[in-house]
């Protein structure tokens, strides 16, 4: 089964925490306070994920039609991302497991971690973990 995922580690991609993109995200997140010393919203790395091209991303091998987003976690060792910061993002699959659902169907899980590193120092700015679930293909 493990051969179903073609790529367990993606390419490192450079990006900048850009003021305009952060401003739009803040508005979408219905922020009412003034920007706190120009930091990006805590979930802003979601925008980074969608800028990666399919070739840069990992491939879980999961069927998109049966794919669920189970959860998402953001770890900031030194606080939130600052606007203007230049980072490198790289995805990898860090965990895979299976569980039986309440109706007996097999659910397959994959945890994909994106590491965001400072482009010049290499220091980790954030770990972003998303839990993906592939539901059983059998009719319930």
């Amino acid at each position: 089964m493990n051969d179903e995922h073609k790529r367990a580690e993606g390419q490192a991609v450079r990006f900048v925490i850009e003021d305009g993109a952060v401003g739009q995200f803040r508005r979408a997140a219905e922020t009412t306070c003034a920007p706190d010393e120009h930091t990006a919203p805590w979930t802003f790395p979601m925008a980074v994920e969608h800028w990666l091209s399919p070739d840069d991303k990992v491939d879980t091998g999961f069927d998109r039609r049966r794919l669920l987003h189970g959860g998402q976690e953001f770890i900031y060792p030194n606080g939130p991302l600052e606007c203007g910061r230049e980072l490198m993002a790289q995805e990898r699959i860090v965990e895979r497991f299976e569980k039986r659902g309440s109706r007996g169907g097999l659910m397959r899980f994959a945890v994909v971690e994106t590491t965001l590193r400072d482009a010049s120092s290499g220091e980790v700015a954030a770990y972003v973990r998303r839990t993906l679930i592939e539901r059983d293909g059998a009719p319930s």
Binding site: F25, R27, A29, W42, M46, H50, G70, E73, F74, G79
Partner: protein
């Protein structure tokens, strides 16, 4: 009575109603253009009663709530799990319970348990955050510590 103690509950905050426009705005800001969240025909063809909110849009609202309760700078960890769908028209309430407080170098580490509920009563998003809060902010008592309610939605 301060809520800033283990077992305390912060003032809740309302968001909503969820509209197609708020979902499109989040789609644009995040770059996630899955049509399930703004195209009624597409969602119905997939067997849903209509479009529903991106889980990460709801997570973004929950993070806005916590960031404005403490400070955007305070975050060290923010995690969510998705429990149920939220449909267009829903009103939302965010809540925050303090589950752990421990002193650290220059302030306190606070762990909070979070929920975002739709007005149908079901929990849509459950979450947890770990925050690094300054001593001044943790000790600060705001006599007007009312729920932040930017759109004037009644409780």
């Amino acid at each position: 009575m301060t809520w800033k103690t283990v077992g305390g509950t912060a003032p809740p905050r309302n968001f909503g109603p969820v509209t197609t426009a708020t979902l499109v705005r989040y789609a644009g800001a995040s770059g996630d253009f899955n049509p399930m969240h703004y195209d009624q025909d597409y969602a119905k063809a997939a067997g849903y009663p209509g479009v529903f909110a991106q889980g990460m849009y709801l997570a973004a609202l929950l993070s806005t709530y916590v960031a404005e309760l403490f400070a955007a700078r305070s975050v060290r960890r923010f995690g969510v799990t998705f429990r149920s769908q939220v449909w267009v028209g829903a009103m939302l309430t965010c809540s925050c319970d303090v589950i752990e407080v421990r002193p650290c170098d220059d302030g306190v580490r606070v762990v909070v348990s979070l929920e975002l509920r739709a007005d149908t009563g079901s929990v849509a998003v459950a979450g947890e955050a770990e925050l690094h809060v300054s001593d001044e902010m943790w000790a600060h008592e705001d006599p007007n510590d009312e729920p932040v309610n930017p759109r004037g939605v009644s409780q």
